[in-house]
């Protein structure tokens, strides 16, 4: 018999649990194997504390303290010519470590190198904005707040970007159910008709494989229409598509295929 698991608080449970399969890690190499990266790392180490650094898939990953993020990225931009912030976001490690991992993916056009800065913060901690250095961080940081609930300090417009302003919950957290919590399930009904309409409209049908026993009675196949409730176990009649009532429409001429001319010579 299957072991009993309490199901009264499903939202606490992470959506994805790697019960059977753990993704293999790509091999990490020493930074000294690449001269350009080694020089960059030395420059960072001279001013800031570096917790860990390695090269993975030809990209250097530098793990720093969260408090240093603005300083490190400012240095990378101004002194080490990493002049593009291609991407930044967060990763939810709340279940295993109770922390968010923030990453900044940098690109140097002149060195033709990609570098990733990573740092970790607690759930309630906030992080310094890098929007002053890279305009691309503006929307990325808003999205990070929208999806993970990571608050960014000194951001010019700290507001949700994708979800509605009155949304509750942060959808990309692993604790957030894919098909939405109760707030999400009733969002449009509550907002448009009010909570008292919930009973009338009813819950969403989230089971895409649901088969209603009345489906074959209520629906007919296109081109094989039968009246509602007809027994079709012995096959359906073949009915041609009807574009117009058979008796014709008032003041509208019925298309007569015999009167029409089919152009056989395309170059005519």
């Amino acid at each position: 018999m299957r072991a009993y698991t309490p199901k009264d608080n499903v939202q606490k449970k992470p959506y994805y649990t790697d019960r059977y399969w753990v993704a293999p890690q790509v091999a990490k190499h020493n930074v000294s194997s690449d001269d350009v990266f080694a020089a960059d790392l030395e420059a960072i180490k001279a001013k800031f504390e570096v917790l860990e650094a390695y090269i993975q898939v030809d990209q250097m990953v530098v793990i720093i303290n969260a408090a240093d993020n603005f300083g490190v990225i400012e240095m990378l931009k101004n002194e080490l010519s990493y002049n593009q912030l291609s991407e930044m976001s967060a990763i939810d490690w709340l279940a295993s470590e109770g922390k968010f991992e923030i990453f900044y993916q940098m690109l140097s056009m002149t060195k033709r190198k990609r570098l990733r800065i990573k740092c970790k913060i607690d759930e309630k901690e906030s992080i310094q904005s890098v929007e002053k250095l890279f305009r691309s961080a503006d929307w990325s940081e808003r999205e990070m707040y929208d999806m993970f609930g990571v608050v960014v300090n000194n951001h010019p417009f700290m507001k949700r970007i994708l979800m509605p302003d009155d949304w509750e919950g942060f959808p990309l957290r692993k604790t957030y159910p894919l098909q939405g919590d109760e707030f999400a399930a009733w969002y449009e009904v509550d907002k448009i008709f009010g909570k008292e309409a919930r009973e009338i409209i009813g819950p969403e049908n989230r089971d895409s494989a649901r088969i209603d026993r009345y489906d074959t009675e209520r629906f007919a196949r296109l081109g094989h229409e039968v009246p509602r409730g007809t027994d079709i176990s012995n096959g359906e009649p073949d009915t041609p598509l009807v574009y117009q009532e058979t008796e014709g429409v008032f003041m509208i001429e019925k298309f007569d295929a015999e009167k029409s001319v089919v152009i056989s010579d395309r170059d005519r």
């Binding site: 957030y176 919590d181 999400a184 969002y187 969403e204 989230r206 117009q244 429409v249 509208i252």
Partner: protein, 169 residues
């Protein structure tokens, strides 16, 4: 100058037709279905193709309008997100009666493949729908057939103001 002669009584060209008010009104309504442009996702591209020259909606009297005040048909073409749900309701309310709604494609019908927190699981949770078109995305022929089906539906209805109000709840 040549005189053009029209024999009204002979050639069936008599500019008088005898019919019922219902038929005249429904003839007008069914053949001038002005649709509100409502392309929300990839179905919108098929809807645009239906309006363009190859499929040519204009010959059925369906002209896309950018204002709900001038439209009586709403073709909901695409995925309706929860963020957008209140706006579709508002635009539907702004359309003048009588009005009809075609839900085009899987996403508008049921939420389709987007079985997620951010998608409305069928526009009929927000506005009443007259016609559901299957497909992902339906081809322009399907939408064309759907509009012609809707025309037949309109012609069957009573044209008087006493028509049953469509209510979701």
């Amino acid at each position: 100058m040549a005189q053009h002669q029209v024999n009204y009584l002979k050639d069936g060209g008599l500019p008088v037709a005898l019919t019922t008010i219902d038929k005249v009104v429904n003839w007008g309504r069914s053949n001038s279905l002005w649709a509100l442009t409502y392309g929300l996702a990839c179905c919108g591209i098929e809807m645009m193709a239906s309006g363009a020259s190859r499929y040519d909606f204009d010959r059925f009297g369906t002209i896309f309008r950018a204002s709900p005040r001038q439209a009586e048909l709403m073709v909901v073409a695409g995925t309706l997100t929860k963020k957008h749900a209140e706006f579709i309701r508002r635009l539907y309310d702004q359309m003048a009666e009588p009005k009809w709604v075609i839900s085009m494609g899987s996403c508008a019908n049921t939420g389709g493949m987007f079985n997620t927190y951010a998608t409305v699981q069928g526009v009929d949770r927000v506005i009443p729908v007259d016609l559901y078109l299957p497909g992902c995305a339906p081809r322009p022929e399907t939408l064309q057939y759907g509009v012609l089906m809707l025309q037949q539906k309109i012609r069957r209805e009573s044209a008087s103001r006493a028509q049953k109000p469509k209510r979701l709840m």
